[in-house]
Amino acid sequence: MAVCIAVIAKENYPLYIRSVPTESELKFHYTVHTSLDVVDEKISAMGKALVDQRDLYLGLLYPTEDYKVYGYVTNSKVKFVMVVDSSNTALRDNEIRSMFRKLHNSYTDIMCNPFYNPGDRIHSRAFDNMVTSMMMQVC
């Protein structure tokens, strides 16, 4: 269950960012922002190899004491960043991967919508629903 999910465009501005509504939402935004550096680092590190071989799933970007940040990048340099609460019993890697896959699928569905201009903020209700299902339930 993620605490914050963000979709970052190729030019590193957010297309979609959504957090669990706690008071420290801004902190999550900062976290996502700083994690972009790590993402870029990982992409460039793998850049030597062919793009095909590069895995879309980037894995754990960096852990802090409170939470962990996972990253996923698409072939068009659209990044998905997910902040997960550390206290949550360790989510297995597979689960994170499957969450990213769902995100990616929803994202492509949005892309198919001719009324969506790439680079716009994402307002799709279907996408929202899907993200909501992945977010932590705030008690």
Partner: protein
Amino acid sequence: ITEVCGAKRVGYFGPAQFYIALKLIAAAQSGLPVRIESIKNELPLPRFMAMKNDSEIRYGNPAEPHGVKFQVPHATLEKNSYKRTDEGDKQEPKSPPASPICSPPASPSSYQRTPLSYGYSKSRNGLEQQHGAAYEVRHSTHQQDGPASGNYGAKSARACSTLNRSLSAEREPPDSSAHYADDPWRITEEQRDYYVNQFRSLQPDLNAFISGSVAKNFFTKSKLPIPELSHIWELSDVDCDGALTLAEFCAAFHLVVARKNGYQLPETLPETLLPDYLQAASLKPIHDCVLFDSYSEPLPGSQQTRDFNRPEKTSAEEVPDNSGLIKDTSKDDKQGIQIFVVLLSVKFYVFFFSFSVAQESIALRARPRSRSYSSTSIEDAMKKGEEPPTPPPRPQKSHSRASSLDLNKIFQQNAQAARSGWLPPPPPALPPRPSVTQAEQVSEVELHPQMTRPPSQTEENSSAKKEAVLTQPPSKPVRRKFRTETQVLENPELSPTINVTSSLSAVKPHLPVQKQSSKQKRAIQTAIRKNKEANAVLARLNSELQQQLKVRNALKNHNGKARLQSLL
């Protein structure tokens, strides 16, 4: 009144309830007791307070509450509201939309709006109007927004005006309309026909897709805000491929129409708008079809018509790949519609085939996700592991062969020749083909009719007689390439050599006979070019067949696996 008319009981105002309610209002205003029996009397129209909205002033009296008729003030009709005569006099009532959750009229003002809105016959723009408030009241009436600035544009204005006319038309007695359960999300027959016609205007082949950009332009004309259109698209494009099938298009159009009439868009697609549902519905006989009179062909006939379809296509289009591809692109779940299109009336033989070649290219263009947009090529390239779009079909072969023959002309000629029904039996006359085996001849005869027909047609119609004859030999070998691959087991050794020699020999006698006219010179040149191409093809084929020959010989001679493998 609410109780008497039954709205309390069912929880909403269906048309029946509404009509009765209005009649009871009239009765009450006339001083009669509020009872069911009162509605039997002939009563004047119920009187409502004047509204400030100038639109209501224009529309004057509310519609007569009698359960059947509605007056439509003619002054309010838009000019183009009746232009679509092909809608005919669709007197079928639109199934009255109702929100099951609407409450009985709370305030008189909001209640007044609804009978007046009944009199509306214009199509309106969605959002600016007072119907923000009216949404809550949501009766079973056809709430339409007041006359707003935007004009939908001819098409959708007509859509709404069709609805309006159906509103104003004679209505069935309430009991039969109860069948539709007052469902605003159910598409009536006339609406469906309208949507189908619109689809056809965008995309002549009912089996193909409307691409995203085309649909975007079309729906943008409705002047709905983009986020709403985006949501409508999300709802209606069920398979999320960036293109709309006929069913998806109908659903989307219906949602647009509903939205413009003031209905909030649902969060998920209603069941009656699902493509499966719509397709099942479309297979029932569709009446009032404008172009095709065989819409009512029942589904069980589909299988044979499909097979019928196949040879029809193969013969006329002369490239087997084409038929395969057309079937491919049409997506089997559109069988019903496909059959309607292809069916027997020769009139649409022409129609279909003159578009079919364009069709498959359009369909192929429209179908794969990665082709839909200009600006998102990279992102589209990265889809969720979808395989690359099918390569463009090979009709170039036919085109190259027939580059001197206009395909459309051929098919039209074909159709004209085939007026009497199925295509006439192949002309028996064939150019001389010396030293051809029996098997070859049989296959040739099969092939020739399909090919000689277009050439023969051009013979009749154009003066370039020789051109047609000349194009025959190259076309036959090209065609043969596909056939011999299937026949290679029968007579592998003979075919390639005979092919080459016969084609050459067939070509030679024609050349010297040529007259020296400029047109024929050109024809000669094209023929020569084609012959060269054919020769190249044949040479390739030859080498392949030789190879196969070797393999077979190896097999025959039991030379051992190793040798065979080395050959392969």
